[in-house]
Structure formats: C-alpha cells, structure tokens
Symmetry: C2
Amino acid sequence: MAPLSELFLYEAARAQHVREVIEPLLKNGVTVLCDRFADATTAYQGYGRRLDLPWVESLNHLATGDRSLTSHFFLDCPPGKGLERALEETGGGNWTKRARFEEERLSFHRRVRKGYLAIARKEPQRVKMIECATG
Amino acid sequence: MAPLSELFLYEAARAQHVREVIEPLLKNGVTVLCDRFADATTAYQGYGRRLDLPWVESLNHLATGDRSLTSHFFLDCPPGKGLERALEETGGGNWTKRARFEEERLSFHRRVRKGYLAIARKEPQRVKMIECATG
C-alpha cells in the first residue's frame, strides 16, 4: 500500500472514532483513554513512512477536529526489545499473525521512536515518558 | 459515516489508484480513461456533503500527486432523471442493492450537480459538458 493511502485510512478511522465515540463521551463528562491517537500517526506515518510532517499534522488536526490529548503517556523501550515482545505475543515465527508494522525493518521502528521522542521534546507538559526497557 | 471519514476513504482509494495503476500506465505512454476522478470528490464530498472546499481540493492535490485530468467529459442530466435511471439499474424498490449516494435526497444530488457545473465554469478548456437529459 502507498504510504499516503495508509495515512488517509488512519485519518478516516480517526475522524470516525472522534465523532462517533470520543466526542459523545466527552460531552457526557467521561474521561477517555486511547491506546494510540494522532501522535501515533505523526510518529508512524510522518517519521516512520517519511511522509511530509506539516501535511501529516494538518490532516491530524482536520481528523480530530483540532482535539489533542490532555496527557500522553509514552511507554518507551528500545525498538529491538519492543519488536521482540510484539513477535512473542503474535506467535513468533507465524508471519500471517503479524501486524503490518511488526513486519517492518528495525530502521522503521527506530524512526518511529525518534518521532515520539521529538513530540515528547516539543511538548514536555503534555507527553509523559515512561521508561519500560527492563523486564 | 462522518462526511470527513468518507472524504479520507475516497482520498485513500484515489492515492492508491494513482500510484498503483495510473502512474505506471502513463509512464508506458498509455492513455487512461477514468470513470470519476478528483472532480467527483470535489462535487460529492465538497458540494454534496458540504465539506470545506479548499480542504477537499488540497486533499485531492495530495492524493493525485498534483495530477489532474487532461479532459473531463461531464455527462449532465437533471438529478431527478439521473436518480431514476440509477434506481432502475439497481433494482428499483430493493434498497439493499442501492449505493450510498443513491440513497441520498434529491437536494444532495442537486448540490453535487451544482458542484460539477461550478468546476465546468471554472475550467471550460478542460471540462466538456455533454447534455444527456433526453431518452
């Protein structure tokens, strides 16, 4: 799949998720906890796939209706370690069970982490880094 | 589905179609004929769904890699007539067979036609209107 198509699909999912699930909950005063949000698109599609960052960020703003996370907990670990864990969870050698990002080279995951670190540096108030390399 | 999610899905499909099918053909000197392209997104999602037009056009440029049609043949007929024909083709009363746009009200289809007419007026050299209301 073309990286740009992947970006558009993520933005489509995000736009729907925000309007159908998140906004009604927020309106009812519920606190919403998301496993990945717009920052993940910046890290994976912007840094990982090397798409134009200002474009990715513009599309994120459009998809989320200018909503951003109040707090972002970034669980950091070296990409090699993270990949190892993900592959263990998805059955090791069984490639058919692996998600599209787990099939990427280590260099891709290093760029994604670099993206998250850049976001964390840019917005230290919002992004709380949690070191979880050991264990 | 949220109109914005629909827009992103069309842009995802367009981006993939351009990179996987159209560009390799053009590189080999083939003339490509498309049934709907970026103008359809401007007309349906911009005018029909009332999404912000400059945004729709920006996303179109991004998805097509700034490619636009050399010629656009716009087969014009009154929306009521067009809908009638589409419903005949898809089995009349059987709603399950109808596409998502055919289920829209006539006012939606009027806005879509208004969109195509606006594009035709803006780019008369590129868009050739073909009247096909009769028959």
